[in-house]
């Protein structure tokens, strides 16, 4: 359930190095006191085991989409979120997680058995190729300054 007067957010991760998740935990070094007052973290596996996906104000999503299961999950997050922000290079552009899209025929043949075994898509997609994205925080890892600006924008939008 949404906590009154707080921005209800989720932090999600698909195929990537989770570098932006690490940067988010580093941003907390400076911001944790403010976040405790203003932000209701409904979903963030890195921080807690009790996670909810419903009725999110903003979903922050890092990582590229490599399986149909991921795409389905991204759509579920979109359905439960008023706004979605793509976090970091893999979510914004697909790269570097999408590097296999550019492999030559030999390399593609080499990795094919694994793509089949683990039900990976033929091509890796950026988040915007799967769902509507409202804002982007580029960078590998994400640019912290832009992240804080985007977060601030939504805090203001929701009157927090």
């Amino acid at each position: 359930m949404a906590k009154k007067g707080k921005l209800r957010v989720g932090w999600f991760s698909f195929a990537c190095s989770e570098d932006s998740t690490i940067m988010m935990t580093e941003v907390l070094n400076e911001c944790w006191q403010e976040w405790k007052k203003k932000i209701d973290i409904a979903y963030a596996r890195v921080l807690q085991s009790q996670n909810e996906i419903n009725d999110l104000d903003v979903a922050f999503i890092e990582g590229a989409i490599t399986t149909n299961e991921d795409a389905k999950r991204a759509k579920e997050i979109r359905k439960n979120s008023k706004y979605v922000v793509a976090i970091g290079s893999c979510a914004v552009t697909g790269m570097p997680s999408a590097q296999r899209n550019l492999f030559d025929a030999n390399l593609k043949k080499e990795i094919k058995p694994l793509l089949i075994k683990f039900k990976h898509r033929e091509k890796v997609l950026a988040l915007k190729d799967v769902i509507k994205v409202d804002d982007n925080v580029p960078g590998c890892p994400m640019n912290e300054k832009i992240f804080l600006e985007v977060l601030d924008k939504y805090l203001k939008k929701f009157g927090v």
Binding site: M23, I41, T67, F118
Partner: protein
């Protein structure tokens, strides 16, 4: 007689994605399957044909949290392949970059992943600011992490995917003005870390199982150099031969590869390092953490947390000493491409990381092989979970499940690393 299943999906407070399936029938554990479900990103294929000098910046993208370890291990392998000898100052700066990584990474694991279990909370952010002890832990968590971040940023440019370390040397070196505040920050967190050691010292859940501990050994307990890999069986091999002693095990339900050392399961990471190399810790660390160090060597996997806390103190003490003495100067370095094979072996926070890289005469990469810590620990984790369940069958299922989660967390697994590459022979 107990018969039950345990299914845990998408475990929290670890790095990356993993699931666990357990089946118990008539008091026997039929199977334990730790399914690393992080999707593959094929870095060992992507690197082929790329100039070796650019490879480290790509390969560090395998992992966000241990990015510096991948970067420096790849640099070491490329330098060995192309016969490049870095300066003493470069080696010292790389050691410092690793100390910064360890402080930040171990602090993330201990304060944010493991401490909530001890305090009966779900998240570090649930700690009560009106309670003196919990408030102090909240402040310690973020100050210790920030100090590690500051040390990495000073030396390497950033805590994650840092820009300064390169094949041959550093593109920027720290100035005196930049060093001073970082020393202060490290001195400031020392007391916090002594308290952290005290917190992780009493381990209520006594779970021991003998295994072979393996790590890179260096006389100053640094994580970047070391000529030998040693084991708790008192055997040592030259570190560059590490790959030849590993047996790759296909784990059909996992997106990661498992490994055995000399045909047996083994454990790497902080517990292995402190068990084997305690005598090489910084003298100040050995003095002030003596009570904790008396516990080692230990066969209790939960003491991996305590070993990490001790390593944070060692990194602080060693870094302060180096930074106070150091006079860094700009150094020029150049690269001549060369064909060759080189290995890189470093101790990443979760254990020994191994790179083997082949270059052609133009300095392009023709082949790369990487063995990451979590893959090496995977079989040992599963065997520990099996032993833990068999020893506690009368415990309520929810309690067993909680202890399994704690056990997996104690290993501090990193699934991003574990699933980066390709092994084709599926059974």
């Amino acid at each position: 007689m107990h018969t039950f299943d345990i299914t845990m999906e998408n475990l929290s407070k670890i790095e990356g994605h993993t699931d666990l399936d357990v089946k118990v029938k008539n008091d026997k554990v039929e199977y334990v399957k730790l399914k690393i479900s992080e999707n593959k990103r094929f870095y060992t294929q992507a690197i082929r044909g790329k100039p070796a000098t650019t490879a480290p910046q790509l390969m560090c993208r395998i992992c966000g949290t241990c990015s510096i370890a991948h970067l420096l291990c790849c640099i070491q392998a490329v330098e060995n392949a192309m016969d490049i000898r870095p300066s003493e100052q470069t080696i010292l700066l790389r050691k410092l970059a690793m100390y910064g990584l360890y402080i930040r990474d171990h602090a993330l694991h201990l304060y944010m992943f493991s401490l909530p279990d001890i305090m009966g909370k779900d998240s570090i952010l649930d700690f009560d600011e009106h309670d003196e002890f919990e408030d102090r832990l909240l402040h310690s968590c973020f100050e210790v992490k920030a100090a590690g971040n500051a040390l990495s940023t000073l030396v390497a440019g950033k805590p994650v995917h840092p820009p300064f370390p390169a094949v041959g040397g550093f593109v920027k070196i720290p100035t005196k003005e930049e060093i001073r505040p970082v020393i202060k920050q490290l001195e400031h967190i020392r007391e916090d870390v002594l308290e952290l050691i005290d917190i992780f010292m009493p381990e209520k859940f006594d779970f021991t199982r003998e295994t072979n501990y393996v790590c890179l050994t260096s006389p100053d307990f640094n994580f970047y150099t070391g000529d030998h890999i040693c084991t708790s069986k008192k055997e040592c091999i030259p570190s560059e031969k590490f790959g030849q002693h590993l047996v790759h095990k296909v784990i059909p339900y996992s997106q990661a590869s498992g490994y055995e050392y000399e045909g047996e399961t083994y454990m790497i990471g902080a517990l292995a390092r402190v068990n084997l190399n305690e005598a090489y810790l910084h003298p100040k660390t050995r003095k002030d953490a003596k009570k904790a160090l008396d516990i080692f060597p230990s066969n209790n996997i939960f003491h991996n947390n305590l070993a990490q806390a001790v390593e944070i103190l060692h990194c602080i003490d060693t870094s302060i000493e180096i930074l106070k003495k150091a006079k860094f100067t700009e150094e020029k370095f150049s690269i001549t491409p060369k064909a060759g094979t080189g290995t890189g072996v470093v101790e990443a926070p979760r254990g020994t990381l191994y790179y083997s890289i082949d270059t052609d005469k133009t300095g392009k990469i023709t082949h790369a092989d990487i063995v990451v810590p979590t893959g090496q620990n995977q079989i040992n984790i599963e065997q520990d979970i099996k032993a833990l369940i068999e020893a506690n069958l009368s415990m309520p299922k929810e309690k067993i499940q909680f202890e399994i989660e704690k056990l997996i967390r104690a290993y501090d697994p990193c699934m991003s690393c574990a699933s980066h590459f390709l092994k084709i022979k599926w059974e």
